[in-house]
C-alpha cells in the first residue's frame, strides 16, 4: 500500500505529512503488518506539547503493546476519534482513515528532515 507522496517517515515507523500546518501522523503499512490485528489505541491529549521521539501513544495488538513516538517536536492539535473507537482502521487503512493524530510542528524543517517513503522502505531492507 503506497503512502501519500508528501509523507515522511521516522525510523520508528511513524509517518507525518509535510507541507501542512497541522500535520497528520500515523504508522506505516509495514508497521501495521508487523503488529498484526490492532485491538486498542491510546492517543495523546489535544494541546499536549511533545518532544521529538517522545512516547506519546500506545498501540496494542493481540500479542503486545507498542509505543508510538512523536516524529517531530510540536503540539497535538487533533486526535482521530474514529480510530480510537475502531482500532482495526490502522490495519485496513494505515495511510487514510487509520491516521492517529495531527501535530503542529515547532519547526516545519524537522518534518522535511525525515525519510521519504523510498528511503524508509530501503531502510527496512538493511
Amino acid at each position: 500500500m503506497p503512502a501519500p507522496a508528501n509523507a515522511r517517515f521516522a525510523a520508528s515507523h511513524e509517518w507525518i505529512l509535510s507541507g501542512t500546518a497541522d500535520a497528520t501522523v500515523g504508522i506505516s503499512d509495514h508497521a501495521q503488518k508487523e503488529l498484526g490485528d490492532v485491538v486498542y489505541i491510546e492517543l495523546p491529549k489535544v494541546g499536549r506539547k511533545v518532544a521529538a521521539k517522545e512516547a506519546i501513544a500506545v498501540i496494542e495488538s493481540v500479542k503486545a503493546a507498542s509505543d508510538i513516538y512523536a516524529p517531530v517536536a510540536g503540539t497535538i492539535t487533533a486526535i482521530n476519534d474514529a480510530v480510537a473507537a475502531d482500532s482495526s482502521l490502522v490495519n485496513s487503512d494505515p495511510y487514510g482513515n487509520g491516521w492517529l493524530f495531527t501535530i503542529q510542528p515547532d519547526s516545519p524543517a524537522d518534518t522535511d528532515a525525515l525519510m521519504p517513503e523510498a528511503a524508509y522502505l530501503a531502510s527496512l531492507e538493511s
Binding site: 511513524e14 503488529l35 490485528d37 500506545v58 500479542k63 503493546a65 513516538y69
Partner: protein, 369 residues
C-alpha cells in the same frame, strides 16, 4: 516501535517448509522457531470456533513409557489416576515437584496395557525428561522420542470432516480423549481426540519427514492454518492454564483449579503431602478468571491486581477475547476474591481499570441444533 530480538539458536519444526510456503510470521517460542500467525490472529481464532483450524505443535514432546510396572510408576509421579484408563484412553494430568508445585501439565494416553504415550510442553520438555529419568525404576522403560515426530492439532467443529478427508475415509477418529495408532501410507501415525481450544478436534502425530505433506493436505481439506497467537487466545477463552504463566513450580494444581485431575485417594505420588495439607488448612491462593469492564486496554501478564485499593496479586495471562470482544485474564488471588462478581481493578500503565471475578470458562459454545 518494533524491537529486533537477537535470538539464540532455535529448534526448527519439521513443518517449517509448510509454514514458509503459507507465508507464516515466525517467532521464537520456548526455544523453537514457530508460526505466531498467518492471515491474522483474530481471523484464525474465529475460524477454529466456526469451522476448523490447524496448528503446528511439533515443539511439544512425545515420550513413551512401557513395561510391566509402567502404570504403577506413572501413578507414583502423576496426579491423575493412570490405572483407571483402559487401552485407547487418555487423561489430562500433572507432574509435580516434591513441594506440590507444577513441573508440567500433560496428557497421558494408555496405548496398550503396558504402554503409554505422553505429550508434554516444549518449555518443560528437558525438565520432564530429566525428572522421569532420575526416577527410573526396573520394570519401566522410558524414551523421549520427540525428534522423530511431527505433530499438528486440528481443531474446530469441522475437524472430523478434515480427518475423514486427509485419511481418505480409511480411518476412524477415537472417542473424546481417546488415542489410536493408525497405519497410513505405510507409516505409523498416532491420532488423539484432544486439544487446547475447547472445540472438538484431534492431535495428529506423524513421522517428522512426512509432516509438511500432512499439514498441506489438511489445509487443502479446509483447515485454516493457525499460529501460536490464536492458540493462546483460544485456550485463554476456555480458562485453560498455560504452563510458565498460569502454572508454576510454586503453585499447586489445587490452587490452579485443577483438582478434578488430582486423585488424592489413589495412594502416594510426588507432591501429594502438600496437596493434602492444603486441602486440610485451605488454599493459599486460587487461579481466578477476571473480566475487564468495557473500554479497558488489553490486560496482560504481570499487570498488578487491586481489591479495595489493596494490591492482591498480578495477572498470569491476559488478552482481548476475539469471541467476546472483551478483556479477559487470570491471576492467583486470595481465595475469597475468586468468588464471581468480586470487584477488582487492574493497573495498566499507571491507571486502574475496573474488572471483576467471573466463572470459567470465559467462553461457552452457543448450543448447536
Amino acid at each position: 516501535m518494533i524491537a529486533d530480538v537477537d535470538a539464540p539458536a532455535l529448534s526448527q519444526s519439521p513443518l517449517l517448509p509448510a509454514h514458509l510456503a503459507l507465508g507464516a510470521r515466525m517467532v521464537p517460542f520456548a526455544g523453537w522457531n514457530m508460526p505466531v500467525q498467518y492471515a491474522g490472529i483474530s481471523a484464525e481464532h474465529l475460524a477454529v470456533r466456526s469451522s476448523c483450524g490447524i496448528f503446528d505443535i511439533s515443539h511439544m514432546g512425545e515420550f513413551f513409557v512401557s513395561g510391566p510396572d509402567a502404570t504403577a510408576w506413572l501413578d507414583s509421579l502423576l496426579t491423575n489416576r493412570a490405572a483407571s484408563l483402559n487401552p485407547g484412553q487418555g487423561q489430562y494430568t500433572l507432574l509435580l515437584n516434591e513441594k506440590g508445585g507444577v513441573i508440567d501439565d500433560l496428557i497421558a494416553y494408555r496405548l496398550d496395557h503396558d504402554q503409554w504415550f505422553l505429550v508434554v510442553n516444549a518449555g518443560r520438555l528437558d525438565e520432564d525428561r530429566t525428572w522421569f529419568s532420575q526416577h527410573a525404576t526396573p520394570g519401566v522403560s522410558f524414551t523421549d522420542d520427540s525428534p522423530a515426530w511431527a505433530a499438528m492439532a486440528i481443531q474446530g467443529p469441522l475437524a472430523p470432516q478434515v480427518f475423514h478427508a486427509i485419511t481418505d475415509g480409511t480411518a476412524s477418529l477415537p472417542p473424546r480423549n481417546g488415542i489410536a495408532k493408525l497405519s497410513l501410507n505405510g507409516t505409523t501415525c498416532i491420532v488423539c481426540r484432544t486439544g487446547y481450544t475447547g472445540e472438538d478436534g484431534f492431535e495428529f502425530f506423524t513421522p517428522a519427514a512426512d509432516g509438511p505433506a500432512w499439514f498441506q493436505k489438511a489445509v487443502a481439506a479446509g483447515a485454516t492454518p493457525c499460529g501460536l497467537g490464536a492458540r493462546d487466545t483460544l485456550r485463554l477463552e476456555m480458562g485453560y492454564p498455560l504452563n510458565g504463566n498460569d502454572l508454576s513450580y510454586d503453585r499447586s494444581p489445587l490452587e490452579a483449579g485443577l483438582g478434578f485431575f488430582v486423585a488424592l485417594d489413589k495412594g502416594p505420588f510426588t507432591g501429594r503431602d502438600t496437596l493434602l495439607a492444603q486441602k486440610a488448612s485451605g488454599l493459599p491462593s486460587r487461579l481466578t478468571a477476571i473480566r475487564m469492564a468495557p473500554g479497558a486496554p488489553p490486560p496482560r501478564a504481570h499487570y498488578p491486581v487491586f481489591h479495595n485499593d489493596t494490591p492482591v496479586g498480578e495477572l498470569s495471562s491476559g488478552g482481548i477475547s476475539p469471541s467476546l470482544s472483551a478483556g479477559i485474564a487470570m491471576a492467583y488471588l486470595p481465595p475469597a476474591l475468586a468468588t464471581p462478581g468480586t470487584q477488582l481493578e487492574i493497573e495498566i500503565r499507571g491507571r486502574k481499570w475496573p474488572a471483576e471475578s467471573v466463572k470459567k470458562p470465559f467462553y461457552r459454545k452457543p448450543p448447536s441444533d
